[in-house]
Homo-oligomer: 306 residues x 2
Amino acid sequence: MRICVVGCGAVGSLFAAHLSLLEDVEVWAFDLNELHVAAINRDGLRLSGAGEVVGHPRGTSDPAAIPPCDFGIVATKAMHTGPAIAATAHAFAEGCVATVQNGLGNEETLAEHVEHVIRGTTFPAGKLLEPGHVQWDVKGDTTLGPYDARTPTAEVERLADACTRAGMPAEAVDDARGPQWLKVIFNASTNPIGALTGLTHGRVCERPDLRALVTDLVDEGKAVAAAQGIELDADPEELIDHAARRDVAYDHKASMLQDVEARRPTEVDYLNGGIVRFGREGGVPTPLNSAIQALVKGVEASWTES
Amino acid sequence: MRICVVGCGAVGSLFAAHLSLLEDVEVWAFDLNELHVAAINRDGLRLSGAGEVVGHPRGTSDPAAIPPCDFGIVATKAMHTGPAIAATAHAFAEGCVATVQNGLGNEETLAEHVEHVIRGTTFPAGKLLEPGHVQWDVKGDTTLGPYDARTPTAEVERLADACTRAGMPAEAVDDARGPQWLKVIFNASTNPIGALTGLTHGRVCERPDLRALVTDLVDEGKAVAAAQGIELDADPEELIDHAARRDVAYDHKASMLQDVEARRPTEVDYLNGGIVRFGREGGVPTPLNSAIQALVKGVEASWTES
């Protein structure tokens, strides 16, 4: 089988490197970072940290070079989903395309370009250290499910099986919205609070006023999920408190805080903005998520002159 | 008559310099900034900008040096009200003490130390340029009213008359809560949005998402005021839009943004925090003001290690 990872930042590289270890899988790694692609083709794609892996996917920055594939795994930042799938859709005319991205709305964007879409949520994380080399910070599971009835269940299972055999444990389920919304609510309720205050996850959680705000944001997200009939796999509150432990992620700066410190656009429109949009569609008010989204967009605007 | 201005930053200096021009008023300027006090005593207290004034109040940093006064005018930052009045209350045993500070709760704090309290709201603004020299940015009116029945109306009128004669127009009213809440709602709904995003007042107002958040904050403040039977003199929305004009205060960085950039404690507990407290007492929910207060306190916390 042939798989193309679309967007080989940290998360995409975890999938590409692992899957390329399998004898029965040919892996393509598509990324616009030409230095990263050149390093992959010269020395392989190296992961270090939570595990040591050197994979040998075929790297390219040219979408026309990607041959027809059985699967795509899209791992770009959420704001790049549209251009990324528009450029690569030709390779997936007969295949299925899975998103393992953050936030809400990526499936809808993919479905505008390809027929068979797989909703995915993944917990492993890392960061690109240098071209060809990714630090693997966190191990974790991936959940995959069909976006709609057009996606064959057997294909979802085939992709999950390949990931699992490659060392990235994945489960195929009928409805992947539960884990997806769990992760989105977790991220939307904590990431922007770190980004707006400059505090680590642990320090956000130990301030009663901010922890109460996190809970209010979680409650809005839960209500929006419930209105769609989505059952969360776990209570986001438990994940949030677990992550705040000193031996887990107390000192972790949320990715959105890292983005703000580096003055990069954030994913807030796909996190809080996604909750607001689904809330509006379902008639569930989300005033706090709206406020947080507006504040983070304001921070982004402050980096440019009026 | 003898008046002591307690806290001679920008606003306090505007009052002290003007009042000292009157033949029938002896003015004391109390401030802990010894360089400022020394400059006042050596060269006088100079205002420049909206008007040119050189006054000659008697400066001191020693509360014991203040003689018995007819009036106090407290103009410290709101978080310093308690210590400032505790140190100076002896001078006002027979007098009345007016607050011209930002925020809610200053009258209550003064009333714990002195018997006759005057609630005041003032719109003039400026900034301390150097010891003895204040830039006078904005002219404006002051409104004074008795805090409770113990404060003689005639004394409120006597202080308002002195301010007006000195060039700081002031009006004595029966209930000064209308202008006070108007200013508090204006400040609480705009200042922290600038502080959290880094945007000027005009840029906050031209973003529809942030302008909507400002309106939601205003609406909470209006509801809390209404529950107490307070009638605002004007609609805060009109003031906010007026100030956003390019020929008014489009490029103004809110004082709270200036505080955040200089890593100084902000007055958020007396602005949004005051609205939250009165809301709780009146049974009016204020979730957005709570959220904003928590975020700004989080920013302040980020300046210190955990």
